[in-house]
C-alpha cells in the first residue's frame, strides 16, 4: 500500500516535471491586458519578453521551380521567429518578429519576384483528446485556419483561409483571425507583424499556433517557405488542463525519446524503402513524404503516431497529376494515366482513404529510438535529390 503510494507520487512528480518542461519549451505566455497594444510599433510590446521558435524550410514535398530549388540548396535562410502575446478576455494578439536582410513586396511591374509574407495557422478545434492537425495545411479530419500577410509597398495584403490538407487551402471570410498588420524595420532589417485571434468563451488555456515565413528574395511562395512545429499560447487567467498538457508533453517524459544513433540505423534500414532521409534518397522524389526536415516541423507525438497508426492522418500528397505512367494506356485523347505509385493513399474499405504506409509495431525501445532520430532531423542538410 505504502509502496504503491510512493510509486504514484513519483509518477505524479514525473508528469509535473514533464509538463513543466513542455510549458517552458513550447509555450508563450500571453500577458493579461485590459486594452491590447494595437499596432506593431506600440511601445507596450517592448515591455514584453519574446520567445523564439525555430522555423525551417519546407522539405516534405518538392515543388518545381528551378531557381527556388537552387536557392533551397544554398542554405536554410531565416531560421527563427520571435513571438510575444497579449490577451484580453475576448482577444489574443500575437506580435511576431523575424530577420530578413532584403525587403521584398508585391510588385506590379515584374513577373518573377515574390513578396515577403507570414502566416499563422491555428487548428479549427483543439483540446484534450483532440489530435493536432497535420502541420502542413491540416488534414481531412482536423482542419486549420490560416491567416496570411503578404507585404505590399504600402502595407500588407491580408488573407484568410481554411484548409484540410495539401491543395485544399481555400479563401474564406475572416473568421479565424481579424486585424493584422505588417511593418519592415529598415534599420534593423526585420519584419514585425501583429495578428489578432478572437477568443471564444470556451477557449482553453492553451491555443495551438504554428508559423510560416516566406522570404521573397529566395523566390519563396506556396510550399517554398519555412515553417515551425505546433507551439502554444497560454491565455491568462484560465486553468490549465493538466491531462491535455500531459498529452501534448509526449517527448518530455523520460523514455519517450530513445537513442538517436540507434534510431538512425533503424530508419536507414526500414524507412528509406519509401522515404528520403538526409543523405539517403533511394526512391524517386514524391513517392512518399520526405523526412529530411521532419523533426523541425513535427511534434514527437505526431512522429510516433505516424509510425504506429499511419492511417490516423492520411496526407493526400501533392497534386496527383505530377507523375504519369509514361508507358501506360492512353485514353482516347492521348492522355496518360496518373502514376498511382506517387499517391500516398489507397481507397479504404468504407470509401475513405488509407495511408499506403503500413502500421509498424516496433517494440517500445525501438519506437523511442526512431522518434528520437526523426525529431533530430531539422532540415539542416541541404542536398535535395
Amino acid at each position: 500500500m505504502r509502496g504503491h503510494a510512493i510509486f504514484l507520487s513519483c509518477a505524479l512528480a514525473a508528469t509535473a516535471s514533464a509538463n513543466e518542461a513542455f510549458l517552458r519549451a513550447e509555450v508563450v505566455d500571453a500577458v493579461a491586458a485590459t486594452k491590447l497594444p494595437m499596432s506593431v510599433a506600440d511601445p507596450a510590446w517592448q515591455q514584453l519578453s519574446a520567445r523564439s521558435f525555430r522555423i525551417s524550410p519546407q522539405r516534405t514535398v518538392r515543388l518545381n521551380d528551378l531557381r527556388s530549388n537552387e536557392v533551397l540548396k544554398s542554405g536554410p535562410g531565416i531560421s527563427e521567429v520571435r513571438v510575444k502575446a497579449a490577451a484580453t478576455a475576448q482577444q489574443l494578439r500575437l506580435w511576431l518578429e523575424w530577420d530578413d536582410p532584403a525587403k521584398e513586396v508585391v510588385r506590379e511591374d515584374e513577373v518573377n519576384v515574390f513578396a515577403d509574407s507570414i502566416a499563422v495557422e491555428v487548428p479549427e478545434r483543439s483540446g484534450r483528446g483532440v489530435r493536432l492537425p497535420a502541420i502542413g495545411m491540416g488534414d481531412a479530419e482536423q482542419h486549420v485556419g490560416v491567416s496570411m500577410l503578404r507585404a505590399t509597398k504600402g502595407g500588407a495584403l491580408a488573407s484568410q483561409f481554411i484548409a484540410a490538407g495539401f491543395g485544399s487551402l481555400t479563401r474564406q471570410a475572416p473568421a479565424v483571425m481579424t486585424t493584422a498588420e505588417l511593418q519592415y524595420d529598415d534599420a534593423l532589417k526585420r519584419w514585425r507583424a501583429v495578428f489578432t485571434i478572437p477568443i471564444d468563451g470556451d477557449r482553453r488555456a492553451l491555443v495551438p499556433v504554428a508559423f510560416a515565413v516566406w522570404d521573397g528574395a529566395r523566390g519563396e511562395r506556396a510550399g517554398y517557405k519555412r515553417l515551425s512545429s505546433w507551439h502554444f499560447v497560454r491565455l491568462p487567467n484560465r486553468p490549465l488542463d493538466d491531462a491535455w498538457v500531459k498529452e501534448l508533453a509526449y517527448g518530455f517524459f523520460p523514455g519517450d525519446l530513445g537513442d538517436v544513433a540507434r534510431g538512425k540505423a533503424l530508419a536507414e534500414a526500414v524507412c528509406v524503402a519509401c522515404h528520403h532521409l538526409p543523405g539517403k534518397a533511394l526512391t524517386p522524389p514524391g513517392l512518399a513524404p520526405s523526412l529530411v526536415g521532419i523533426g523541425a516541423i513535427s511534434t514527437p507525438r505526431y512522429l510516433r503516431d505516424s509510425i504506429t497508426t499511419p492511417s490516423a492522418v492520411v496526407l493526400p500528397g501533392l497534386n496527383p497529376n505530377q507523375h504519369y505512367v509514361a508507358n501506360g494506356p492512353r485514353d482516347n485523347n492521348g492522355a496518360l494515366p496518373n502514376a498511382d505509385a506517387f499517391r500516398w493513399w489507397s481507397p479504404g474499405p468504407d470509401g475513405g482513404q488509407v495511408s499506403k504506409m503500413p502500421p509498424f509495431a516496433f517494440p517500445p525501445e525501438q519506437l523511442a529510438d526512431l522518434v528520437a532520430f526523426l525529431k533530430s532531423l531539422d532540415g539542416s542538410t541541404l542536398e535535395q535529390p
Binding site: D65, L66, L169, A222, G286, N321, G328, N332, N333, G334
Partner: protein
Amino acid sequence: MSKRQLAMVMDLNKCIGCQTCTVACKTQWTNRNGREGMYWNNVETKPGDGYPRKWEEAGGGFDGGGNLKDGVVPSRYSDYGVPWDYNGDEIMAGREFKPQTDPQVGPNWDEDVGAGDFPNSYFFYLPRICNHCSNPSCLAACPREAIFKRNQDGIVLVDLNRCEGNRLCIAACPYKKIYFNTKLSKSEKCIFCFPRIEKGLPPACADQCVGRIRFVGYLDDVEGQVYKLVHQYKVAIPLHPEYGTEANVYYVPPMAGPRRFDKAGKPIEGSERLPTPYLEHLFGPRVHDALKTLHAELDKRKAGEASELLDTLIAYKHSDMFRLDTRPRPTGFKLPVLK
C-alpha cells in the same frame, strides 16, 4: 483526363506572319486589366528566341518517365518585354520617331531574323497559343489545384477563385503559355475562346486568320479535318512532343520552302533551304513521315490526280475549317439587312 478534346491544326505553309490572330486575341481578351503585356496568341519567327525570349530553354513539361520537370518563371524585363509606346505626338514637331522608353525585348523582337547566311538565309512563322494539353504540366504543378481541364472539350482553364498567384504553373509549362497578371496577382492563359466555342464559333484567332491556316475541331470527330490531318494522314504533329504534355495544337510542318542558291547564285534543284534537322528539333522524328506524305500528295496533285489531303489543306471554304459540333448546322451565313 477529359471526355472529348478540342484541337487546332495550324498549316505553317500558309502562315504569312501578319499577326492578325495576335491582334484578334489581344483585342478580345488581353488589352486590359493587367493583361497588357500578355500575348495568349503570338506569332514568332523560327529559328529564333521567340516569346517569351528563349522559352524553349526555360524547362518544364514531363521527363521520359512521366515526372514533372523543374522550370523557370521568366522575367518581364528580360524575357516578355515591357509594353512601350512611341512619341507619335512629337513627330509633328519634327522630332525623331522613337519609342518612349528603351525597350530591350518584346513579343516579336527577332521577327524575320531567322538563320543561315545570305543568300541562303531562311525562316518561317510559328503561331502559338496554349496547347490545351492532354497531360497539362501547368495543371499538374499547381499546389492549389486551381487549374482544371473541361470534361466536354478538354479546354484547360485557371479557376481564378482558387489561384493564389504562386506561378508554379508558369515554371511548369514548357511552352510558357501561361502568364502572370501582376495587377490581379493571378495566372491567366489562352482559354481557347470557350465562350465562343459554346456558341459554336471558332476561337477569334482562327476566325480572323487571313491565311486560313487554322482548323478547329474535336479529335474524335472522324469526319472532321482535324481528325484527318492528325490521325488519318498524320501530317499534323505537335510542337516539341518530347516535352511530354501531349499538346493538342498540331502543326503541318513547312515543306515548300525556297531552294538553296549555289555560288553562282543559281537555285540548286531538289535542295531545301530549311534544314530538316531543325524541323525535327521542333516537331520530333515524326516530321519526316509527315513531310514525305505531303510531298507525295503534292506530286500526285501535280500529276493531275485528286488529293483529299491537299484539298483539305487548301480549305476552299473558311467555314469548312471549323467543326465545333456534329449537329446539322446552317450552310450559309446571311448578313442582316440594314434598314
